[in-house]
Symmetry: C2
């Protein structure tokens, strides 16, 4: 049986934090293993001699930290560590990006996972002010919007939305669901825009409710966002792509060039 210890009411640290600390320590030290169920609220209330809300505050803290997940009617469970997903060298990533795949997914494939795409949606819309600025279009100029969700092992891991100027997409199957071999980058090059440079802006934040739903994650699990812009040899932006992925780690590799 798990030794929960006791809380110290004369301690400055409030009881709910002390309880969270105790549980966190058990998780950190593996005495509560991934997938294992935490003691129930009732048990903790009895054990520590506190009110229900106090125990719930403690557990909420652990949930916010992403250490545990609560399941209504079942219990609170230690979250299993997210699989480390490796993004190989940027050379590798670049090659696959040219094939129109997210580097994350390219790597998922390379590492033997079974990826997939669902919920592809392609529309033709007037560019929002933000997208227009990023693509250096006039306001409300039309863009092809391609949204899709990527799966790995059947679980959603990433959503992505690309915006391509209609002027570039015209005469190509970019506005079709199936864009043919080489993906949209292939079609962009077919249209005479040779790709020269990508920038990717990476950051992390908490998911919005919509993102939580799309990625099937709980609150408290951060997401990483990638905002990619692709430029052709003339420096003209030809695609912007917003990606939101579950904050699994990825690896970048750099070689130091010979001196």
């Amino acid at each position: 049986m798990l030794d929960l210890g006791t809380i110290d009411r004369s301690n400055d640290r409030p009881p709910y934090r002390q309880i969270a600390d105790i549980l966190r320590a058990h998780i950190d030290h593996g005495r509560l293993a991934p997938g294992e169920q935490l003691p129930s609220e009732a048990t903790l209330i009895d054990h520590f001699g506190v009110a229900r809300m106090t125990v719930r505050e403690a557990i909420k803290e652990l949930r916010t930290e992403g250490l545990v997940v609560a399941q209504h009617g079942k219990g609170v469970f230690v979250r299993s560590a997210p699989p480390v997903r490796r993004l190989a060298s940027d050379r590798f990533a670049r090659r696959h990006r040219k094939e129109g795949k997210s580097a994350f997914i390219a790597e998922a494939e390379a590492s033997g996972h079974v990826p997939g795409v669902d919920q592809i949606r392609v529309t033709n819309e007037a560019a929002s002010p933000e997208v227009a600025e990023r693509l250096r279009l006039k306001p409300r100029e039309r863009v092809i919007v391609r949204s899709r969700r990527y799966l790995a092992d059947g679980r959603p891991v990433e959503t992505a939305t690309s915006y391509i100027p209609e002027a570039i997409a015209k005469g190509t199957p970019i506005a079709e669901v199936n864009t043919g071999p080489g993906g949209i980058y292939g079609r962009i090059e077919d249209a005479g825009h040779e790709l020269a440079r990508f920038t990717e802006e990476v950051s992390a934040r908490m998911p919005t409710p919509d993102e939580r739903k799309a990625l099937e994650i709980g609150a408290g699990i951060p997401v990483m966002t990638l905002v990619r812009t692709a430029y052709d040899t003339n420096g003209v932006p030809v695609e912007v792509c917003d990606t939101v992925k579950i904050a699994h780690s990825f690896v970048l590799e750099y070689d130091v060039p010979a001196q």
Copy 2:
């Protein structure tokens, strides 16, 4: 005056979520601007006709999402957008990394911010099992541990801890606070280990309580972690560095090599 609307008690969505939705919408639409104070708990209790805990739950949700920050005794305020911090091309980053600086900080300098370092601590310790494995050392072999905290504009933005095998550091000032020009990478090369490759593993997660304290951030603000390993030309790992930074965004740039 802000139009808060009302909640619908017959709605399936619980009141605290409805209240959070209403406030979130006001923030999203700029009717509650960054830095602006939210209506006080008492005001919201009166307005929506709910109990205190219900209002607090709603605000807790927004805090978890990083949209607002609460200040004890003052109020709850809309969080201002974090400054975008750009990490330039990997070539740029690489050059600066060779100077022993974090790429993040190198870029902060380049972008005109005034960076700084405080809380440098250098110790000589027995390697933990994990560090020993990453540096391919025998268990408990000794390593130099260099911890420091980086500031930008006087605010902490990043903490970093480097581990260098004592065998490599011996005879160099790596164990001193001041390592001389070129930083630790310079000294590592002085010791005959020419640098050839870096890997960086990037991920995002919620901060631990210690990290929250060191970076002076509240709960609910995710951090990005970088785990770097530097290898010499023989493929021997010569340094590992764990970095935790506030989840500001950074930019990667890739050039597509000529075909």
